[in-house]
């Protein structure tokens, strides 16, 4: 590969992978948040007095 316009090719590929990685991280963080909320609500329901 020659070096002509290599810089912008790098920016383009880096941008594509950055967006993909950010989205994957977003999904992971949402998953963790939801799971901790489920655990919290389950604990709360288990500890509440039964009617």
């Amino acid at each position: 590969m020659d070096q002509r316009n290599f810089e912008y090719m790098f920016y383009g590929l880096a941008a594509a992978w950055t967006i993909l990685c950010l989205y994957a991280l977003l999904l992971t963080s949402r998953g963790r948040k939801i799971q901790s909320e489920i655990d919290h609500l389950k604990r709360m329901l288990d500890s509440s007095p039964k009617k």
Binding site: N5, Y8, M9, G12, I19, L27, L41
Partner: protein, 229 residues
């Protein structure tokens, strides 16, 4: 079992991308006029077609939801839309970087670029609409209607450079032009990367659907907690 399939497909997609990157960076020749920068094309067109597939899937699922009122179609529609939006963002940003190098400008308000941006904003609006409606059935019904109409914007974007004179380059794939306007090795690589992006999209939609199911479980637990309190 389902989780194992998702992880397996994710690993396969990652390996497919590694193989594709090897060919793109080390085996394919440079383009005569553009030099190395044309390689952005492999991360511009495949995400666009994958996003179109996601939006089409969301529109079909939305229609099925309106007909059957089955929640699984709503879950699929929102998941496919969100993944499509991320892929459409890749399409827009890589296009801007290529345009800056080739045209000397980041952006131009031609029909193709403008309609692509408007389409992206419409789908962003879809997600915002869902955030704004608390009642689940109202949320699913309204967003399904929007998803179906939003697909007209996708079709308009696809056809924009045929209907209008645009700065955006015209079609290059042999299946659209009927001529050999692109090197066969480059075209084959485009389809390989399209395959990798489609597989990745399937994995991301499946993960997002799991999240949506968990979110619904949270809402159900919250209702139970409120009933007790």
């Amino acid at each position: 079992m389902r989780d194992k399939l998702i992880y397996g497909a994710g690993i396969f997609a990652a390996l497919y991308f590694v193989r594709n990157l090897y060919v793109i960076l080390l085996q394919l020749p440079d383009e005569a006029m553009q030099g190395a920068v044309y390689r952005i094309f492999f991360f511009h067109l495949p995400p666009y077609f994958t996003a179109v597939a996601c939006f089409l899937g969301a529109a079909i699922a939305s229609g099925l939801y309106l007909k059957t009122k089955n929640w699984k179609y709503d879950v699929f529609a929102v998941s496919a839309t969100e993944v499509g939006l991320a892929l459409a963002a890749i399409n827009l940003v890589t296009g801007m970087i290529w345009g800056r190098q080739q045209w000397g400008i980041w952006w131009t308000w031609d029909a193709r670029l403008t309609s692509a941006l408007i389409t992206w904003l419409i789908y962003l609006g879809y997600l915002m609409l869902r955030e704004g409606i608390k009642d689940p059935s109202e949320r699913a019904k309204n967003s399904a209607v929007l998803s179906i109409f939003a697909f007209f914007a996708v079709y308009f974007t696809y056809k924009a450079n045929e209907w209008y004179r645009t700065q955006h380059p015209g079609p290059v794939l042999t299946i659209r032009t009927g001529k050999n306007t692109i090197d066969p090795a480059m075209q084959a690589m485009l389809f390989h990367n399209l395959g990798a992006f489609l597989l990745l999209a399937v994995v991301l939609v499946a993960v997002r659907m799991n999240l949506e199911d968990s979110q619904r479980a949270v809402e159900s637990l919250r209702r139970r907690a409120h009933a007790i309190a």
